[in-house]
Structure formats: C-alpha cells, structure tokens
C-alpha cells in the first residue's frame, strides 16, 4: 500500500478502483467487495479530492485488497489519521490478520503499533536490532534502562565510567544507563552531588525498546557513546 496522496483528485473512488482492478488484472467485481470492506460504499461516487486523509487511507487499503492478497505490506498507514481513523485502522488490521493474512506494517508510531501487532522487527540503519513477538522483545527491558536528565551530564558520564556502569549519552543533558536499578543509581548520584532534573526508569514498552536499541546510532550527539561500554546487541532469544 502506498501513501494516500497517489490519487487523481477529480477521479471518483469507484473509478479509481476500477482502474486499479483493470491495471492489476483483477476481477472488477472485487471493486464493490473492497468498497464494502473498507466502508466506502456510500462514498464511491464522490471525487477523491474531497476525501479526508482517513478516507484516502481506506481507499488505498481497498486498492491493495483488490487482488485478495495473502500478504499486505503497509507503509506508515496511520500517518495523518485522526484518532477515530487510527482506531479503525487498528481494528481493520486485526480483522485482516484474523482472516489468515499476514499484515506487515512499517511505522514510527511505536506506541500505536504496540496495541496492534503480534510480532515486531526493529531495524535501524539497515541492521536488524531485534525480532520476535512483542512480549519477547519487551520482556527483558522492564527496569533495565534508567534515563537521567542533568546539567552535569559530562560529570555524570565520568562517575558512571568509574563505577563501571554502562551508559549512553542521549543528548547534551541526557544519559541512559543500562542494566541498573534506581537503588544503585540514586546513592551514586547523591554521593557525587550531581544535580538532577529527572531520573526515569524506562518501561518495557516498544518505544522504549526501540529508543534503547537505536540510541547512539546517529540520533543526537554523534559522540554520545564515548566512554561507554559497547552497546549490547539484543537477541530475542536472550530476551525471551
């Protein structure tokens, strides 16, 4: 499925689907079926130029479904959707998966995806960072990462290095510490009288996992990993 801007604005929804069915060599009778599937039957005679983003996404989905595919590849399908549209899309993807289809979704809206997906693959800079079921990927993360925001990030980095704590610089005033608990970090900070604005134990949600796995790979300060231990390469087997 392509982005929802690839439409001629003057073309009507049904005409677009008929055209796509012809071009793809599909049965044109599928047009009415997919219009029903995505709930656009009542708008089939309307020009696409008057469609909302959500309706365009539905039409794009209908186009992808014309060939009754076993595998659907959706690229950022929830981009620009309102909350109702996102909820609809979530239910629809579950419905398609329930029919026995494989739905592959690429998205940066990780918290949204976490509500929908069964399995996740995290890719960053062309490298596979993690794969497995959502539970497998997030299981080992809960309580593993502490994020500190401080005006003394450089001094904190030195203290952590001395204490042998693995850390990563997320930004000029942010440091992520791996494999530690608040009970270990708190006393260390107090002893060294480091001013803190924020100390957060990152949860085991998909977004945190993603940020943890991709930190220091080009986001923020390029020298962010200086002084840190090599980043662990998580494997689903190790996490599960």
């Amino acid at each position: 499925m392509l982005e929802a801007t690839s439409f001629h604005p003057a073309r009507r929804a049904r005409a677009h689907l008929r055209m796509a069915a012809r071009a793809g060599g599909h049965d044109v009778h599928r047009v009415e079926e997919v219009l029903d599937l995505v709930g656009l039957r009542g708008d089939a005679k309307r020009k696409i130029g008057g469609f909302s983003m959500g309706m365009r996404q539905r039409l794009e989905l209908a186009t992808a479904l014309l060939g009754d595919p076993d595998v659907l590849v959706l690229d950022e399908p929830s981009n620009g959707l309102d909350p109702q549209g996102i909820a609809w899309l979530r239910d629809f993807m579950r419905y398609l998966a329930g029919e026995g289809r494989t739905v592959l979704v690429s998205s940066h809206l990780l918290s949204e995806m976490a509500q929908t997906i069964d399995d996740a693959v995290i890719v960053s800079y062309g490298q596979l960072r993690a794969k497995g079921t959502l539970a497998e990927i997030t299981a080992g993360m809960t309580g593993r990462v502490m994020r500190a925001r401080t005006p003394e990030a450089d001094r904190l980095s030195g203290v952590l290095s001395q204490a042998g704590v693995a850390f990563r610089r997320l930004g000029p005033d942010e440091v992520a510490m791996d494999g530690v608990q608040p009970e270990q970090v708190g006393p260390l900070l107090a002893t060294n009288q480091i001013v803190l604005y924020e100390l957060v134990q990152e949860g085991g949600d998909l977004e945190s996992v993603f940020l943890s796995l991709t930190a220091g790979l080009g986001f923020g300060d390029p020298a962010s990993t200086a002084g840190a231990e090599p980043e662990p390469q998580p494997q689903p087997g190790a996490r599960a």
């Binding site: 392509l2 690839s6 073309r11 009507r12 005409a15 012809r22 793809g24 060599g25």
Partner: protein
C-alpha cells in the same frame, strides 16, 4: 496488455482536462467552418458567406476540424502522461503494471483512441453545422460528403500521430504546462518563425517540422489553416512522407523520454 489499455482509458475518461480538450474541438471546428464559408464568399460580391464550390473548398469544409486536431490532439497526448506526474499517480501505475514499456504502449493506444474521438467530434460538428449551413447557402451536400474518402483517413491519421507527438513530448518533459507550451507553442509559433527564416535566408522549404508534416498527411484540408498554404504556399511533403515524419516526431521523443524519464525510480 488489454487490461493496461483499459486502465489507461478509464484514467483518461476520468480526467476533466481530457473532456475540456475534447469539447474545445467543437468551437474550433465551428470557427474554421465560418472561415471556409467566408472564404467561399470572397468570390461573390456583396456576400459575406457563400457555399463551397471548388474541390478544395469542399474538402476544407469537410476537414474543418483539422485546426482543432492540430491544437488539441497533442494536448490530449500530453495530458495522458503528465497528469500522472502532476498528481503523483505514476507510482500507483508502475506498482500495478511493473513493466513500464507496457504502460507506455497502453498510453499510446489510449491517446490514439482519444485523438480519433477528437477527429470524430470535429466530423460530427461539420455534419451538424457545416453541411446544413452550406446547403442553406445553396450548396450541394453530396458534393461535400463525396470527399469523405479523400479527407477522413488523413484527418484521423493526423489526429493519431499528433496525439503521439504530444505523448512523446509529455513523456520527455513531464511538466504539464511546459509540455503543452512546447508542443503547441512549438508547432504553431516557433515553427512558423523557423519556416519563415529558412525561406528568407536559405530559400529552403522547412517542410519536415511537425505542423507542416501533419499538414502534408492531412492533405488539402490543412492548407488553409495552419498548414502549408497559410505560410505562403511552401511545398509540402507527400502525404505518406508527412505521415512518416509525424511518426518520427512522436516516436523519437517517446523513446528518449522512456529511457531518460519513464524508466527512472519514482517515489
């Protein structure tokens, strides 16, 4: 291939610009009909209009749509391809039909059919306006319709090749406005200037440019309005030579456009 052509035909008939272009064939044809009947009236003192009486006038009246075809068929070709880039539908097109040469061939077929439709609209306009008007002025309708064999094939063939000409430049340029200016402005304005310069400086009949080649293919009907005669009676190519030259004017930019633009990645 049939599916790709049918998809292109659906695209064409769902673009408002295509219908506007088709509808413009009517007033442009009427304009030329008026011109032909006024020209026929020149020989009769005191009459603004007169019925056609020479063979050339009869053919010009029947082929009064040529000027409209000359202007509109290239636009039809341009719209067929540049609309895809303008509205970013080209990505969908290439996803649905990954073999790009197949897309291009389908566009050639769709453009040809719509160009023929322009030709048929002009002929219908002639039947609805020119023939009754000519008869009302005292002309004999069968004298005009008897020229159908000499006029209609050339008219429709030039429509197809002029459409191909527009499609070729549309594929090459991609930008809709630029492609229309290039094809219409180039053939109607720039060509006239070049022809005049070639005649004045080199005493050479520059008769292989698109307008003149199309006029040669269309035969006598084109001489009075935009064709050879309008520019001082230069020697036109033979009709078949004109056809081949027009074919080249369509195929060469189409081939260059295919290799330089159409085969490129789209996002």
């Amino acid at each position: 291939m049939t599916n790709a052509i049918r998809a292109e035909l659906i695209k064409m008939r769902t673009m408002p610009g295509v219908w506007v272009t088709l509808c413009l064939a009517l007033p442009l044809t009427v304009l030329v009909i008026v011109g032909v009947l006024v020209a026929a009236g020149d020989s009769v003192p005191g009459h603004t209009f007169n019925h056609v009486h020479t063979l050339r006038q009869q053919r010009e009246l029947l082929g009064a749509g040529y000027f409209g075809i000359l202007v509109l068929a290239p636009i039809m070709g341009v719209l067929c391809v540049t609309g895809e880039y303008r509205h970013k539908t080209i990505t969908t097109t290439f996803v649905l039909v990954p073999i790009r040469v197949r897309v291009l061939v389908a566009k050639v077929a769709a453009t040809a059919l719509w160009a023929i439709l322009i030709g048929l609209v002009t002929l219908a306009t002639v039947a609805a306006v020119a023939l009754p008007w000519n008869a009302g002025l005292g002309g004999v309708t069968t004298q005009v319709t008897d020229q159908a064999g000499a006029v209609v094939p050339g008219l429709l063939a030039s429509a197809v090749l002029l459409g191909l000409f527009g499609l070729g430049f549309g594929t090459l340029v991609k930008n809709q406005v630029a492609a229309i200016l290039l094809t219409i402005g180039g053939s109607l304005i720039l060509e006239s200037l070049l022809v005049a310069l070639a005649r004045a400086i080199f005493h050479y009949d520059l008769n292989w440019l698109p307008n003149a080649a199309g006029a040669a293919l269309a035969g006598d009907i084109a001489r009075g309005f935009g064709g050879g005669g309008g520019r001082g009676g230069e020697r036109l190519l033979q009709w078949w030579q004109g056809g081949l030259v027009m074919l080249a004017w369509g195929l060469v930019p189409l081939a260059i456009g295919y290799y330089t633009t159409f085969r490129r990645d789209v996002t």
